[in-house]
Symmetry: C5
């Protein structure tokens, strides 16, 4: 599906759903700015417009069409014989995370940003795109004035979309932390490792996006007007903060893992303590009981009057002493 | 609440609590320097003065008003059509830590620093601000001469305010170290991990502040006069030292954790030793006792004259030997 | 074996299997581009052509002939007295991995890339080389136009050849992960370490190749025409992605190792629990049994009417209580 | 206490214990070089000379007077209105370590190095200073010719003074290593951690000094004449080597710690082995003994002629077999 | 001992064992190249030639004479008043390792490399030096033409001399790996740690040499003619590869250590398993045996007809069941 808009430099809508044959004319008009949005288009549509109307470099068209996990931004400057005007090509990813299925889904958004055009390309419907389109249609003239402003708004919303994923993850981490402190078992352990993996995946997604946005914030590209650079730096700053937060999640999880491992080794320690205590406390009784269970014909103690009583008393006293010993050593 | 002051370049107080309508006039007077301090102002106050009088860039006003955990400094140079004069916008954080509640609270302080004005903005009353205001009022002419000097004094006091938080933390760390060496238990372990987390949080606060101050110390900004740069470098140096100290706390805590883990594994080792010792020492008696408790009709030893005595002697001797064996092996 | 081709700048085949004496002539013709491919040649062939026809620098010829595990790229610019024209010398490696033998085999491919010639050198037949040769012969004029295009196609296919090796490895890793979760034993442990070693080896192979390709992607070499640089950057990008994937394998394996170690220490913990449980549960019976096995002449309980019954009841009750205690503590 | 010297550019002593009023005159004489050494001076002395005679920048005077743990070097170039001539201000630390008290004491040495003056400042008497003073007095004309030569000699001796501290530490480390290999106990463990801490402290002292000296070795300062730069580089080189040695100490201690932990876990393993061995070896006797201790009326074996003998033989054989089993498994 | 040679620029030997008084004359002759090799010389020889004939900078002479563990290269350019011509001073180390004594011995080789002279200095006879001398004498004119060629040949052989040391180490590592997999004991553990230390030492030797050679390979020095730079880069490349190999040894050893630690903890786990198994399997018999060993007068089971038989059957069945339980749990 293709949606296309032409705005005047005052941010007013000029035409929408532009006819293919009109595009080159509108594109040539410096008082207009053209936005073409591809959503899951057919290969022919792609070819006709990207190559036929805009004459983009074949490599960037190919990069746009193929799904890639690495964001990037490249500046294309026409050389002799090239038909295109200078443009930026950018690949960036939105992220989506649902606790139930526990996977980070990324959706790619590709930009071609020129002096007076913006081409966006995505497979699935993307909330930032539809929201910004609607705003522009409703007359958000601030935004609809120039392609770099629209690009900024899109990036801003896209980066905002990372936050719910992080919040979900934070919730899950605090859940697992609680579980570890209550009764740590093997499932908890696997859960921690799983979460670590997820945070790693998330950071592997965010960190290259960060690098790409940093270049915008540094004002590296001439196609972004200087007065918009601070706005792009703002987007970069919030993504960087998200990245740092994700980094701090890794640290939290490492801490939780350490707690788990310590508690599990403590548990074994406690079990061994119990075993030792029981063994030691019953030792006096077992020794006396076994000893006087012998069948020697001539064991004088057996026929002593208070033999049994004395044996009982000795048993009780030594058992009490071992018990007190452990009590003193704070074993329980 | 808004407090405002105008000082002459000799550091004398010219006017205070300046009327809103006078501000533009005073601002235009190059012989004066204007300091406006916002403490938890209403949105209208902010808008009227920051946008209306000073004409600051909307992005910096927004950054100022929103609470942010990342410090930053940005230089705004007017472009054609901009009404403001060049200024620095800076976000910096004071830190506060109380042992009872165990959390690091940060309070944000925002600066707008121009050639002849300084605007400070904070939500809560901040000690550095009130102290410096008082000093300026009392005629500390050295300070009140120029906005960069006031800014330096504010930053200096703010960085000084980090030290008590560090001292508190140092005390807590040495407490927990002592506890680990006396009787390490699970609470101690959790305490160590908690402290590690806190130090991490503190470092995450300090380290970006450091980066921001470094740029002042490097004399990067033209609005800071060269003769003041060494003073700013001094502030940076003390924050860097605080940062290094915080870093060394992490190392200490890692060491304490290792002691804890070793002592806890040593404890289990000791318990196992005790179990083994008791088992081995009682083994001779249990063997002989059990053996001669058998009811075979024809066990010659049972009817021997000294059978019981010999059994007793063998038991005592073997028990003593195992005891000596452990003694020799230094088990107790 | 030597295969040689001369293509026109339109990408048409001009001559193949060029006679040695013709080579210098063809080489001098700027309308032609010469591709000479050495596959396991004799030393004489090497000497005659590389030194005799192309006059390459002796060091680069030596580097080409010797097998080396480090890829490299060097630019040779003729100095006074040198007979060669400027050329790039490049060593790059294809990788091959078969699960059965479990080793990464690398095959070296050497390039000499000049303005109008390409010399490739390899010991074993290499798929990328034979495929590209065939394509050129069949009239893939796009490719056969210039030596840098052919070099790009070769590198592209060579880098593509890394993917199956990674996929094999990924399969093996998920296999071992499953084994760890089902029943971890010492073989699994050794397998994990073995895989870690393999991934390390793979990364040691890939990462220097990456560095070499990065220099192409950065447009560092004048012999690569600017319009081809984006293509080389593309090759570099895909190798970088492969490298990152290999890196993520190391992280996965570290996670699996942690699971293994935890499960193995959990197992010992479980065993100790079982020992303790059995010992504690049988303790009441053993104590009473041993005690009333004593042969004192005067043990009143023995002749009590319900003595045995009471002993039995006490045993059952205490055993049940210890059992319930463990039940409550969730030991089983 | 203040000691002051004026040397001619030939290195001959001109005056010593210079009168305060003469100083400005001597300072103005370009044929002389002035060395003023402060040892624990009164604040008035500091103020009179540093500010009154030399007119140093207030910040550097403050840095000089306050005790600081961070070395630094700063170049002060006079601006309009400043009375001082260009000078270098440097803070550097000597280190002292005695095994008995186990602490690294650092003593600060501050330099003000100008074209024809050197001011040194220290609280405690410092060996390098007194030695160099003596040498200069005794006519070591090579040194006494210029302030940068004296500064070099001072730094050289100061860096040399780090070596004994390192040697002490090396001795202690080899002591603790031996102890670990003989009989590792908890004290040894704590000692290792303590040493690690000390080495860390030492490295935290040395490493910033290194950075400061590196700047001298790089010839960054114009006040150091080019022909002296190699000498300063030499001082830097030896400090760097000391730093690397300290680094290698950390590695040694990590190794020793690993040995300790392994030996301690081995010990527990040995104890468990002993327990298991004793339990298993006594099992046959205990089983047979307990079984035939039963009081069933009709136990035919009890009345068999060779019943007891057979029981004995079975016991001996099974015990021997378990014994041999352990022997075979190399348990002892 | 001093050996000296003068070669013509065609690489022919002109004079050898040059008289001291002739040296300055030969040195002044630009058609000759002088090589002076010091092997364990007397201090007078050093002084007379290095200072008297060549007028080298005193610092470089001192560095040459003292034994140092850090390689370095420094460029000396004469300043006004200096008598020497520009030269490079270089310290580099050969390495020697014998398995029996298990230590890395390094021998220092110092170079003074000028436009038409090379001075080499070493304490012990060095194979590279004697080999290259011999080759030059035998008319290897390629080499004997210029000091940078000789220097390259020396460095090349010296770096080649690292390989046997590495091979020895590799052998030892694979030995210890095998031992760990067969029967790991404490000696093996200490051996692993020892090897780790050795590899560390080796890397500490190699890595600074690498840095020094890198500077040659980068063509940093004007005294090395451009056409020789690729040769030096080659030497650097092979040392870098050696360095990487040494690095990979550390990784191998870390892996071996992990195997050891895991096997040793597995062993304890196995021992505990055995203990538990024996205890649990004997429990039914011990319980029944102890219970019916009681002497209550009225224990009806004792006089039942099949009492003993039933007890026996119950014992056998429960023992079998526990046995099967462990069998099912794959304990043996």
């Amino acid at each position: 599906m293709i949606r296309s808009f032409a705005f005047t430099t005052q941010g007013r809508l000029h035409t929408r759903d532009i006819d293919l044959f009109l595009m080159p004319t509108l594109l040539a008009d410096t008082n207009l700015f053209l936005w073409v949005d591809f959503e899951n288009p057919t290969p022919e549509e792609v070819q006709t417009i990207l190559a036929g109307v805009f004459h983009f470099h074949p490599l960037s068209i190919e990069d746009c069409v193929t799904v890639s996990s690495s964001p990037k931004v490249e500046e294309y400057t026409p050389k002799e014989g090239d038909l295109f005007t200078p443009y930026l090509f950018m690949v960036i990813h939105a992220v989506d995370y649902k606790r139930e299925d526990g996977k980070f889904a990324t959706s790619e958004l590709d930009f071609f940003l020129g002096k007076n055009f913006l081409v966006t390309y995505h497979q699935k419907p993307l909330r930032p795109v539809s929201v910004i389109e609607e705003r522009c249609m409703k007359g958000a003239m601030q935004i609809a004035r120039a392609p770099d402003r629209v690009a900024h708004s899109l990036l801003d919303m896209l980066v905002d979309g990372y936050k719910p994923a992080l919040d979900e993850l934070a919730l899950e981490i605090s859940d697992v932390e609680e579980k570890v402190l209550q009764h740590p078992d093997r499932q908890t352990f696997n859960h921690i490792l799983q979460l670590k993996k997820k945070v790693l995946v998330l950071r592997q997604i965010i960190s290259p996006q960060c690098e790409v946005l940093a270049r915008f914030g540094a004002g590296e590209f001439k196609l972004i007007r200087p007065q918009l650079v601070p706005y792009f730096r703002d987007v970069y700053d919030s993504l960087r903060r998200i990245n740092e937060m994700a980094q701090s999640y890794t640290d939290s999880l490492t801490g939780i893992l350490q707690i788990y491992l310590n508690m599990s080794s403590n548990q074994t320690g406690e079990v061994v303590k119990l075993l030792t205590m029981i063994t030691v406390i019953t030792t006096p009784l077992m020794m006396i009981g076994t000893w006087y269970g012998m069948n020697f014909h001539d064991m004088p103690e057996l026929s002593w009057r208070y033999g049994y009583l004395v044996a009982g008393i000795i048993t009780v006293i030594s058992t009490t002493l071992t018990y007190l010993y452990f009590k003193m050593k704070k074993w329980f």
